[in-house]
Amino acid sequence: MAVLDARRTPQPTAAERIPARYWVAGALLLLMPGIANDFFLYQVFGWAFILGTIALSLQFLAGYGGMVSLLQMSVAALAGYVVAILGTSGTASISLGWPWWVVVPIALVVACIFATVVGALAVRTEGIYTIMITLAIAAAFFYFTRQNYTIFNGYSGFPGVLPPTVFGIDWRRPVPFYYLTLGVAVVCYLVVVYVARAPFGLALQGVRDNPRRMAALGFNVFWHRVLAHSFAAVIAGLGGILLVWQNGQVAPGTAGLPAVFDILVVAIVGGLRHPVGPFIGALIYVLLRAFAPDVLQAFGMSGERFKTVVGLGFLAVVWWSPDGVLGLWDRWRALRAEGRDRLTGRVRR
């Protein structure tokens, strides 16, 4: 465990511990606005970072806690709704017009409370039953928002929910919004990586592997799982707020069942083993969503069938690599290592 290794010497510096590929990816992402056009910055990378952030909350629960929750999109949407209801939107009859710096923390707290309450119900079950109970609550949330006009404005939802102008920057413009989503995604990623090796994260992995043993070590397994839902809700909530700002609206469809399943697909395609997985999955998903209609039309098919392509892509990944793209990457590295001389590291001929 890296955190415990701190006692050993000599230690590489923090910069040395970061693999070269991370430096390359970081530089590429930072310089992306100089390479990519607005469509890619806003619709591809912006959306991928947002979906990846929401899926990251699922990765934390499923990868480290062994709890596959289908609630993360509902939690994200709830945070988005709170931003629309308490902040500014096109539905002036409901929205209160509070400033963003008041609204955003409240949205995260509300999302957190919601996830904690639902988590307390969900963690009483395991496996397929957790999936079913969170799916049921996600469906209930969707129908509630669609039928409630007093708070959620029913079917119409809230149009005109825009990101604020801060420091004189309009954060909805493609380049600022790209950096905003990138910043949130990176911070959430680093927080999850850090917490995974902190006592809370380590214990969560212990709870995943052997809850009975963890109870016998003095851990309250029930509350550990519930608090994992609370923690994941903050990440999902941040993603939800960004999603609403990107779309400029929040409506029941934001938390509809297709969106709920999309988050699961994104997380599984990327891989649940490491926090980078959801972002890889999100990028693949967004690229398929963005370009599948064009490909289909090129073959004389309706662009409306892009979901079929997404579904086939999902099937292909889980068929060849049940642990997602990260699993493929691991196997490729293992194969490459097998082809090398163990002593010299040179490729055998």
Binding site: L4, R197, A198, F200, A203, N210, R212, F219
Partner: protein, 267 residues
């Protein structure tokens, strides 16, 4: 090196009475009574062996004491407090520990990580989102316990790569984390080589005097060497209690478990 710990928020609440007191504990699974009207008292610091053939109810007894099973009837008091309906983690926080017949460890983590987790489990900061600093006293404690069970050389080894005997030793380290006052050892010598058994006996006899334990063990040599008193179980009931020498000489016990006078090995 000392096994005394400063990490035990509830240690001060120890009562002057028995460490463990079971009154009429019964556990049934459908029509099967795994435990029937078990009454048992263990003094603080006492070392007790619980012997009996397979199916006698020894592990069920442990599971009831630790809270893995709720008894069908009867009461369990731990250091004077009625814990009959307490969940497992609440009993652990009151100084109870246990090891398992089949090692339940975290194979993907190192030896030190496992012990560190155990130290965290009985600390107040078990939900901490902050990684420990170098000066973390729990880390020092984890190193101390690793040394106590003779695993210092393997402290950075992944648990999955340890030998079976080393895993049993690690189980004991986990049980010693925090401020244990009563430890339940479930067949700690099972599967160990003679040398490892000698090591185990040294660890058990070297425990501080204030730490009592109850030992389930089929190896009579180990059990009778480390125990001050012996409780014999049969068909879910306690049928004999006494000093090791008394139990060893008891004709009824010999007939049932030792294969006749002078016999060794369990039935």
């Amino acid at each position: 090196m000392t096994l005394a710990s400063t990490n035990g928020p509830r240690l001060a609440t120890a009562s002057a009475g028995n460490a463990l007191e079971l009154r009429g504990v019964t556990k049934t699974f459908g029509a099967l009574a795994a435990l029937s009207d078990v009454t048992l008292s263990v003094r603080p610091g006492e070392r007790r062996a619980v012997l009996g053939s397979n199916g006698a109810g020894k592990t069920t007894l442990f599971n009831c004491i630790t809270g893995d099973f709720l008894p069908s009837s009867g009461t369990i008091r731990l250091f004077g407090e009625d814990v009959t309906r307490f969940p497992a983690h609440e009993r652990i926080r009151r100084g109870l520990r246990r090891t398992y017949q089949i090692s339940l460890l975290f194979g993907g983590l190192s030896v030190l990580d496992n012990v560190y987790l155990a130290c965290r489990g009985v600390s107040r900061a078990r939900f901490s989102l902050i990684r420990p600093f170098r000066s973390d006293p729990l880390m020092a404690r984890a190193l101390e316990l690793t040394e106590a069970v003779h695993l210092t050389a393997s402290r950075d080894t992944r648990v999955a790569a340890l030998s079976y005997g080393q895993q049993r030793q690690l189980e004991i380290a986990l049980a010693l984390a925090g401020a244990p006052r009563l430890i339940l050892f479930d067949e700690p010598a099972a599967g160990l080589s003679p040398a490892e058994r000698a090591d185990l006996v040294a660890i058990l006899t070297g425990l501080p005097a204030h730490i009592g334990f109850i030992l389930i063990e089929h190896d009579m040599d180990v059990a009778l060497r480390v125990a001050e008193r012996v409780t014999m179980m049969h068909n879910g009931r306690i049928f004999k209690e006494g000093l090791p020498a008394e139990i060893e000489q008891d004709e009824e016990v010999q007939a049932l478990y030792l294969g006749g006078p002078g016999g060794h090995g369990h039935g």
